[in-house]
């Protein structure tokens, strides 16, 4: 969505060029979510379209990244300790993340345009 807002003509109108800064803006931010003590930390994330969630299993056991919310449903099962998983956020809205193995391990993500 950020790409649509900051198209080349708009940037040109502002006297800017498509340099590294623009590429970084289009790529969005990486937001780390640590999986530790069978919890997600932070337990609530507010992000923007174009951002990327980086789940890092910093625990001593296997976890899942599992999104049951309709329209956002993804699963990355068996994320072992030390492994990471990146989830690109391309749609505004809100969804929950859960671990398929630990029923109380949940978090919410809200994505704004």
């Amino acid at each position: 969505m950020t790409m649509k807002l900051w198209t080349a003509p708009r940037l040109a109108a502002l006297g800017l060029s498509l340099g590294a800064g623009a590429a970084l803006a289009a790529a969005g931010n990486e937001i780390k979510v640590s999986m530790v003590g069978s919890t997600y930390a932070p337990g609530e994330v507010k992000a923007k379209v174009g951002d990327t969630l980086v789940f890092s299993n910093d625990d001593f056991t296997t976890h899942w990244v599992y999104v049951p919310t309709q329209g956002y449903q993804v699963s990355r099962a068996e994320l072992k300790e030390g492994e990471t998983f990146k989830l690109s956020l391309r749609r505004a809205g809100s969804f929950r993340v859960a671990c398929g193995l630990h029923e109380n391990m949940v978090m919410t993500v809200t994505v704004a345009n």
Partner: protein
């Protein structure tokens, strides 16, 4: 699972015991019209297997659950799996919404069904309440090549959500939304 039950049956025969009705995928009936007659609960993009899994539930179970009751006797969940379309890097291509795109026809259809008493025939170490599991080929015939122990093993710790994954939470969301 099948091997375990066959061993149990063989043991019973050796001992001259009367055999109870054996559990297993054979008692799950494949609903050929699931794609049109069942309620779709969504499609899960599986990053670990690069597959798309679409889930459906029989309408009777859906209505019962939406009325505030537990998943009833006779609940049937169908999981249809198809490969995701891959890019040149071998990773699933994402659309503008960040979703996987279908890259082929379904190659595997898994089912989870429950009926009162079925669980008694499943070894306690694997038991998922009264749920049974089955794997089918796209033509609706049983696929004996698929091992079912992983189904029992993966769903077993989810007792708080009646041994389901997507079904329970999606239906909770829909029930909360009054749908």
């Amino acid at each position: 699972m099948r091997m375990h039950r066959m061993a149990l049956a063989a043991g019973a025969l050796v001992l001259g015991l009367a055999l109870p009705t054996l559990a297993g995928p054979e008692r799950i009936v494949f609903p050929k019209d699931y794609a049109s007659a069942y309620v779709p609960l969504g499609a899960v993009d599986r990053y670990d297997s690069k597959m798309i899994r679409s889930v459906f539930i029989n309408p009777e179970a859906y209505k019962s659950y939406q009325a505030g009751k537990p998943l009833p006797d006779g609940t049937v969940l169908v999981l249809e799996q198809r490969p995701a379309k891959l890019g040149a890097d071998g990773q699933p291509e994402l659309d503008a919404q960040g979703r996987f795109q279908p890259g082929g026809a379904p190659g595997f259809i898994g089912m989870q069904a429950k009926k009162a008493g079925w669980g008694a025939d499943v070894p306690a170490a694997l038991r998922n309440g009264d749920w049974e599991y089955a794997a089918f080929k796209p033509d609706g015939t049983l696929n004996p090549a698929v091992k079912l122990e992983p189904c029992f093993g993966c769903h077993q710790p989810r007792g708080a959500e009646d041994h389901t994954f997507i079904g329970w939470r999606v239906m909770n969301d829909l029930r909360a939304a009054g749908k």
